[in-house]
Symmetry: C2
Subunit: 495 residues, 2 copies
């Protein structure tokens, strides 16, 4: 075995352990930490990140990477680890430490301002801090470099290899196809089924979710399910993948579908070979690819008729008084109930991607110097009007609803829609290759589908870039067509 | 302010953050981590410890320590931090890295062997690994150095400044006084009150403990209470002190008294000024001093008549069917029920220190080369016979009962008894200065006592060595007399 590789291994392990420590500190911060622990935790996280950055930019590591980048004796996995590490190493080197520190500070300040601005519905509280943050993100993009335009550098954080040009192409086709569907499927005034909103006991919701995630393959031997204000999934390390849910007192579907969504992420992480976990290539190749799995389980599986038919009796068993009279038709309609909402996270499958398309347009305008931060609220309201035909009540209901921009996550939103596009393409391919998935789901059996995803996607970790992997899986370049066809079929049969 | 001090601060912060990360990783490992996460967690912990050791032995840090050790402009807290850091720095330097790594490995192996040996009741499974570990502990002690004898160096890990000579003096007086008490108080054959053992619902036990720890001052804003197989307390950092309890299905008192014990530790940690927490001097000066607080709340407060009288109605409220007919006399007797047991952790206050005295004798013999590891089981059984007049059924009931020796914690046991000795001396002094504590406790009010402990002990952190601090608090060198008097009074009135 290559001598340079042997010398790299302990450095990879150290980086992996530092990442694990940071991930646990963040997980605990979001899930368990007592309130008074917050200030000290921020410092602890910063120290771990600083040490990891110091190790990642170590010149000795750079020498090993150089030696290994042209080493033809490496196997496929080793080569992938070197490739991803090289990318991370040089990206880290390109950012001046002063900029990294300034970005961290500005993110903290903007986030704090957002937590104040949102309940007050007052964008002006956030504006100066967001202006500062956006100008630092521009500096960051310019320091990292890009081929065609600045937004490429932002995208590259979350979707390596993806370009703005390609994103616009995919979004263009999708939006064009979605518009008429939305017009047809969503009546301007409609009444939500009454059973959706009523008291559902938290403990029973929790038990239902535990049974559900376990029944679709989540391993509690190698993971946990806890509660947090915002559901999320974290991979601490090999054999330790944690998801969270949030139960609402007056609705049941949000916890069930958040659990299915997070389990999609968690099954991905639990499907990455242990020998890879924590290494540079031991993760999904992109957030869009990760989101493809959460959306697939939440929507493509979780909201299809065969699955809701399987689910309903189990739900009724936990909530006989609340849902005893709900029919399979009614349940399926409730799970897929279409409505025009101003809030992204409440949007149905049909309108969700329009929320994202609008955010993409705004981000592009910002980073092409065509829009000032001060004009974000107007641009937002105009975008909602154009894409969804509705206007937010106020900034809280509009431009302030998401935390992403205040956390410096510019370039992140498109990954949600990329995930949706991938998910439909993958599902189609799985059905084509396996056949009869609906029969499986009717019986609550997802094992053939999970096995297929494990083989085709999870076990591949970061051996390929996301677009390459997607192309390998579906046999051709991915397009928005499968998603559009799926949505058309579903929403035509619902109305 | 001193320039060297200014340069030391970020280094102290980094050490503090590394310590916090390691503590959280360990806490999570014991409380939450899914089983499959174990192997990776061990690696993550080792990496964090290695980095902390690297920082602690950094020559640049050594230069700053040298400069600051003679800096007369430092305030009392700064000087204490430099003093403790200097001690830690030189201790870390004195241990060859190869020995540190070998000790870590041998501890891991011995611990694994213990988990197998104990249920099998077979000391021979552990023996070769414990032999290896003891010989490494001898190397460690010799590398660290000592003034009078090797065991001083082991004690110094847990009880800085304490000597074997002084420990033997304290234990000698205590054992001599305890023997006749035990003879008088514990009838050879006795029947435990029947109410002690019956089913107690876990959720109600948990709620009772939450109420109890909160009512004596534990802050949930700055801490947590969780469950783990072995109760313990961890200070993750400022504003984040976590204790655990374990509920047993067929007994209530163990969870209540474990909660009181751990709350004693937790109140200490929550009483250390935030500005000190995480710094070298931001902890108790010794484990014995820490244990003084856990024992004080568990025993001196928790098992005294005025407190059990306050507690009983609250316990009955949670368990009316189980305890409705138990009288205050019966409750107090049950809480203090004396019996000769082979198992240390089940021992009453009277015999507990005899279990420790026997362990001390064995450890001294081992490290004075008067006893071989192979002869430990015989030495154990003989010690039990001599001190308690009973013999263990087998090795599991005897020499294998504690995990300490298999974790390399030789020198640790005496701190339990030092804690007991301190606790009685402190309680006497508090009553002398405050007066009427029993009246407070009858009303469930512990605030005057807690305030006194905060001022005299908790807020002092590690400004003084444990024996100095104890002497400042009680006004004279601490002796076993207050403990003996307390036990004599209690157990004379019980029988």
């Amino acid at each position: 075995m290559s001598d340079a590789w042997q010398r790299l291994v302990p450095k990879l392990e150290e980086l992996s352990h530092l990442r694990a420590a940071g991930t646990l500190l963040s997980w605990d911060q979001a899930v368990l930490m007592p309130p008074k622990g917050a200030p000290a935790r921020a410092g602890t996280l910063a120290t771990i990140e600083t040490i990891a950055h110091e190790r990642l930019t170590d010149p000795e590591l750079g020498d090993l990477i150089e030696a290994l980048a042209s080493d033809t004796t490496l196997d496929e996995g080793q080569a992938a680890n070197v490739r991803v590490l090289k990318r991370d190493h040089f990206k880290a080197l390109r950012l001046p430490p002063a900029l990294v520190a300034e970005l961290a500070r500005a993110r903290g300040v903007a986030y704090e301002a957002w937590t104040e601005a949102r309940p007050a519905s007052d964008f002006r509280i956030l504006q100066p801090h967001l202006e500062r943050l956006v100008s630092l993100k521009i500096e960051e993009a310019d320091a990292l470099g890009y081929e065609e335009e600045r937004y490429d550098a932002l995208l590259d954080h979350y979707e390596p290899g993806m370009t703005t040009r390609r994103v616009e192409e995919l979004f263009g086709g999708l939006v064009e196809g979605l518009r008429p569907l939305v017009e047809d499927a969503i009546p301007p005034e409609a009444e939500r089924p009454a059973w959706l909103e009523q008291p559902f006991e938290a403990l029973q919701q929790d038990r239902l979710c535990r049974w559900l995630v376990s029944s679709i393959g989540f391993s509690f031997e190698g993971g946990r399910l806890d509660s947090s204000p915002h559901p999320f999934t974290s991979s601490i390390g090999p054999g330790d993948v944690r998801q969270t849910i949030r139960t609402q007192p007056n609705a049941l579907l949000p916890s069930i579908y958040a659990a299915l969504h997070e389990t999609g992420h968690a099954l991905y992480e639990q499907g990455i070979p242990d020998s890879f976990v924590g290494l540079p290539a031991g993760s999904a190749p992109s957030l869009g690819m990760h989101e493809s799995q959460s959306r697939l389980w939440e929507n493509l599986v979780g909201r299809r008729r065969s699955f809701t038919d399987f689910l309903l009796p189990h739900v009724k068993e936990r909530f006989p008084a609340e849902l005893g009279t709900v029919s399979p038709d009614e349940f399926h309609l409730g799970v897929n109930y279409p409505e025009r909402t101003t809030i992204r996270i409440y949007a149905d499958e049909l309108t969700y991607n329009l929320h994202i398309a609008m955010r993409l347009e705004i981000e592009l305008a910002l980073f092409r110097n065509e829009l000032d931060v001060a004009d974000l609220p107007d641009a937002w309201d105009a975008g909602m009007e154009e894409h969804l035909g509705i206007r937010p009540r106020d900034d809280g209901d509009g431009v302030l609803q998401d935390v992403h921009w205040s956390m410096g996550l510019q370039g992140y939103f498109p990954t949600y829609t990329l995930g949706n596009i991938y998910s439909a393409a993958f599902y189609n391919k799985a059905e084509e290759e396996l056949g009869g998935l609906d029969d499986d789901f009717h019986n609550g059996d997802v094992s053939r589908l999970l096995g297929w995803l494990r083989e085709k996607i999870h076990s591949q970790a970061y051996l390929y870039q996301a677009s390459e992997l997607a192309e390998k899986v579906v046999g051709q370049q991915v397009s928005p067509e499968p998603l559009l066809e799926y949505l058309k079929e579903k929403y035509t049969s619902l109305t």
